[in-house]
């Protein structure tokens, strides 16, 4: 069959299928990034806390989720979560298997992993804020909450952008593993089209190309955000922050 037909939008074409897969990949990654940001901020504050138990907990989180294979976490959350939901269903009188929606399980799994990397990014960003600026905030009479909101948050955000861009890229690639749950994101979409047409080279290369499009586009977005956030800095520190 003609390559153009296979990659077209017609009856025999897989373009729409692949594009939908790419959109789903973006969606899983975006939701995972948000989940990871919330977890990451919480874990980073635990790691920076004065309380020893909180620090231990924070360190345990980053050690576990950075040290265990992503695939295992995805299986754990998808199958573990599903059997938990099933037992809950049985307890409520429903007999039979109840699956955790694969999108939610996938985003949660990638988000939990992303959170362990984002925690390190946020922690590093906080530590990079000049101590003198925090002291100046205290000296002017800012209560802790105001100091956090006005002085710490905006700077953590600025300093974290390059690291978050890197974590986004990792999550985008991790999201391919979510295909094992049957979610038809870009990886699964490429696989299905390759298997159905036996055009393995063609569809895996096109899939890879689409991943590259996604990563290079997001790279641009993050570089732009970094430039904007660093407008207050001398030009020499661009990209170093």
């Amino acid at each position: 069959m003609n390559i153009m037909t296979l990659l077209g939008f017609g009856d025999k074409g897989w373009a729409l299928w692949l594009l939908l897969g790419a959109m789903l990949t973006l969606a899983v990654t975006a939701v995972a990034l948000v989940i990871g940001a919330i977890l990451g901020a919480a874990v980073a504050s635990a790691k920076l806390s004065a309380s020893v138990p909180l620090r231990v907990l924070g360190n345990a989180y980053t050690t576990v989720f950075r040290g265990v294979p992503e695939l295992l976490i995805i299986y754990l959350i998808y199958f573990g979560g599903s059997s938990a939901v099933t037992s809950l269903g049985q307890w409520l009188g429903y007999q039979g298997f109840l699956g955790l929606p694969s999108f939610i399980a996938g985003a949660l799994a990638v988000g939990v992993i992303s959170g362990s990397y984002q925690a390190e990014v946020f922690r590093g960003a906080y530590l990079a804020i000049a101590r003198g600026e925090l002291e100046a905030a205290s000296a002017i009479g800012m209560p802790r909450s105001l100091r956090f909101r006005r002085i710490i948050m905006p700077q953590v955000f600025r300093l974290a952008i390059p690291g978050i861009g890197y974590v986004w890229q990792l999550s985008l690639k991790d999201s391919a593993l979510v295909s094992v749950t049957g979610l038809v994101e870009l990886m699964r979409a490429s696989q299905v089209s390759a298997n159905s047409t036996h055009q393995y080279f063609l569809f895996y290369i096109v899939g890879g190309g689409l991943y590259l499009v996604l990563t290079s586009l997001s790279d641009r977005v993050f570089t732009g955000a970094e430039r904007h956030a660093n407008r207050s800095m001398p030009s020499a520190s661009m990209g170093k922050a």
């Binding site: 000049a130 003198g132 600026e133 002291e135 100046a136 905030a137 205290s138 000296a139 002017i140 009479g141 800012m142 209560p143 802790r144 105001l146 006005r150 002085i151 905006p154 700077q155 600025r158 407008r231 207050s232 800095m233 001398p234 520190s237």
Partner: protein, 256 residues
């Protein structure tokens, strides 16, 4: 007239571990006093200044600002402020200028200056902007109001930091070696601003190595040595023939 002192400090002591840095310092600053704190590095003068607004917590001693005592209490054998709210309030009444400026790098000069009045004192923004612009005019950097600190010289940054502190309408200004991080040619512009403030009657405590400032601008010179006030007096006394031998030796080192 016996107005109560703007600032009254009684027997401040401070230890870091087993090292006692301040061994009991008492000092009063009345309205309009300009007090220069001199001493070799390690004499405890910066630590003393930082104990006044509790950037360092004194091990013991009492601090009164306009008669209001900062309440302290003992907790697990350590001295801590009784109320963080009171500490924040007292700090808002004491302007502090740091050696390394410490302007907030993500804010323009104008944003730095209005930050305290708008967010700590919760005053109307338009009013604060008008006042901030007048202050920037006064310290001579009105044209820099929309510039970020990283794009200014040290002297300009320090003048912005002085404007930021003044915007809080402080009762006392604390200066912690305000010119020590500056290139020599930039020291003058900061000292001129400080001198103008002194002439307006601002109550000031200045930790400095600028003998010219201590001698010509301040009305009292306090010489610290090994965590104690070794001697103090008017500039005429301190720089005249009655100076203590230790102070004479000190100014011999720092010259001019």
């Amino acid at each position: 007239m016996t107005a109560q002192p703007r600032l009254s400090i009684r027997d401040i002591r401070k230890s870091f571990g087993t090292l006692e840095v301040l061994k009991g310092i008492s000092l009063d600053a009345r309205d309009g006093d300009v007090i220069s704190l001199l001493g070799a590095s390690g004499s405890g003068k910066s630590t003393f200044l930082r104990c006044i607004n509790l950037l360092e917590t004194p091990t013991s001693g009492r601090v009164f600002v306009d008669g209001e005592e900062i309440r302290m209490l003992q907790k697990n054998g350590k001295t801590v402020p009784a109320s963080q709210k009171q500490v924040d309030h007292i700090r808002s009444e004491l302007g502090m200028v740091f050696q390394s400026f410490n302007l907030w790098s993500h804010m323009t000069v104008l944003e730095n200056v209005i930050e305290g009045p708008v967010h700590v004192l919760k005053r109307p923004k338009a009013e604060c902007i008008a006042e901030a612009e007048a202050l920037l005019e006064k310290v001579g950097i009105a044209d820099k109001r929309h510039v970020y600190p990283a794009h200014m010289s040290g002297g300009q940054q320090q003048r912005a930091a002085i404007a930021r502190a003044l915007a809080m309408k402080p009762k006392v200004m604390l200066f912690d070696e305000p010119t020590s991080a500056l290139d020599p040619e930039l020291v003058g512009e900061v000292l001129r601003v400080m001198r103008a403030l002194a002439e307006e009657g601002m109550t000031m405590l200045v930790v400095t190595h600028e003998m010219g400032f201590a001698r010509n601008v301040s009305n009292r010179v306090v010489f610290m040595r090994e965590g104690l006030i070794e001697s103090s007096g008017s500039p005429e006394e301190m720089f005249g023939s009655v100076a203590s031998p230790a102070f004479r030796q000190f100014i011999g080192h720092y010259g001019n």
